[in-house]
Subunit: 181 residues, 2 copies
DNA sequence: GTCTATATTCGGATAGAC
DNA sequence: GTCTATCCGAATATAGAC
């Protein structure tokens, strides 16, 4: 039972921020779900903003791992395909997907959050690893879109009667094609 | 000078909602920029939500136009390429792009807005027009992604030293490739 | 670490005069 | 159509006891 309260706050906050939005979620709600009072949260996080900052940190760390991995490898087409697959695998992990969704859905709330520029920078670094040095602009864009395509796949659940597995498989296929361009 | 106040409210609200977020923008701010008081806004819109609803209506109307156009045409590959180009052209018009960005960035705020389901429905209809009847799941996803790719292109402005024109041209190229799949 | 207050600020919205 | 004035609720945050 009773693990790290800090981690439980993060977990509940992440869920509520993603479902309802950052601004629409009050500390009262988070506290209620946790079974404590608002004041208790302030022991663990100085401000509401601090909670969100801690969540962004988690994502940056994961992106940086991917960048590290890419850099430890020769810059070949094979490496890039594997990088793409690894990115797709991460997106399947629920915590990572949740944080990603949270960020996609709360762009304006995060607008001038200092952590966000850090994140963009890391994402840019990652997308640079997706192209060889001599790639043309169109190729670079296509390769970056390969990453976006994986995200987009997660939005397409509405798309007819396809199962999640089918969509995942198909988006990976499309993403690989974008990488080949 | 002094045109329709209603339209000016929409215009200012759209800008602020997009820049700062829906919840983070107060009626006071909108009123101040317009040079009137909060109370004056209530003459033109019953609630804050009404303002946003009127903006979504604008986008749905534009999407419906595209659907209408597609339906008035034979279902050929050529028609789909042109539909894609028309969609890209719309995204270049500032008002349309702004509304699109507003919606992308305020997904949670719009979460259970009745207008939103209408919009999703229209978007789904449009993406169905992008594929022939006998398309496989992977093909359908690729064709839908062609639309998303155009949106994604708008996020990539950061991407190095490319001009907006170059990015626009390259994303269209990539989108067309996704359509060919 | 968590509680019970409580301070403070600001939001959306309405009433009624002009 | 726009104003002044005001209501009401809710949110973040703090102080200080246990």
């Amino acid at each position: 039972m009773r693990e790290d309260t800090r981690a439980r706050i993060q977990q509940i906050a992440l869920r509520l921020f993603t479902e309802q939005g950052y601004e629409a979620t009050s500390l009262r709600e988070i506290a209620e779900e946790l079974g404590v009072t608002k004041a208790a949260l302030y022991y663990h996080f100085k401000t509401k903003d601090d909670i969100v900052a801690s969540l962004v940190d988690l994502r940056v760390a994961e992106l940086e791992e991917l960048v590290e991995w890419a850099r430890s490898r020769p810059k070949t087409a094979e490496m890039r395909r594997e990088l793409l697959e690894r990115y797709a695998d991460r997106l399947k992990e629920s915590r990572y997907l949740e944080i990603t969704r949270f960020m996609e859905r709360n762009q304006t709330a995060m607008r001038d959050h200092p952590k966000l520029s850090k994140m963009r920078e890391t994402m840019l670094t990652l997308s640079r690893e997706m192209s060889p040095q001599d790639a043309t602009p169109a190729e670079r864009i296509s390769h970056s879109l390969a990453l976006f395509a994986l995200h987009a796949g997660k939005w397409l659940t509405v798309q007819g009667d396809l199962t999640e597995e089918e969509i995942d498989k198909a988006t990976r296929e499309v993403a690989l094609r974008l990488l080949e361009f």
